[in-house]
Amino acid sequence: MNAWLVCASLLLVAGLLPVVWGTARGPLGHRVVAQNCGTSVVCLVMLLLAQGYERPAYTDLALVLAVLGPVGTLVFARLLSGELDEEPRWGRAVTALTVAATAPVVIASCAATGPGRAAVKVVFIGVLLAAGNVIASRTLSGAHRNPTETRYD
């Protein structure tokens, strides 16, 4: 009974299914926030699976996702800026929750990998993910404050 895989499946059920539900329904503002949260959830699941399957090579997946995930959300924020109507009340809370969830996962996998460059790599992934998540969610809320502006090109 691998604890890492149990955590990964719990995080999948608690994180990815609501994200799919949030992305498929509701106003556009909610959907983009859900997609942003989905990126973080899947990146954390990748870190847990890398530990669960005892394959350090899988952390490259989390690395590429931590780099490209927030970029995808920024693409949405940039190209849909005209239509982003109102940001959900719980938008900030969801971002805080996902960033808060990043810390234990990163610390746990660092503890499991032990001191060394691999641990620094996991910390780097966590920092990259959290920074991307915060920047993307701030852009989403920022996009609402001045939606009447000329369209970005």
Binding site: P56, A118, F124
Partner: protein, 60 residues
């Protein structure tokens, strides 16, 4: 002034290259001379791109 700007650019590229080489060291699993050489090359490419991007954005 032209020489001053060139010096600043080279310095900035070197700073970026050092930072990106450290990042490369963190990324790779086994360290051997060839990896370091390739890492320095990639870091140089990244550094030049970083400086060019900053220059393009600031409109100079």
């Amino acid at each position: 002034m032209r020489r001053g700007r060139l010096g600043a650019t080279v310095a900035e590229i070197l700073v970026w290259q050092v930072a990106l080489s450290v990042l490369w060291l963190v990324l790779i699993s086994t360290v051997d001379p060839l990896e370091l050489f390739v890492g320095l090359g990639c870091a140089l490419v990244g550094a030049v791109a970083a400086v060019a991007a900053r220059r393009a954005v600031s409109g100079r």
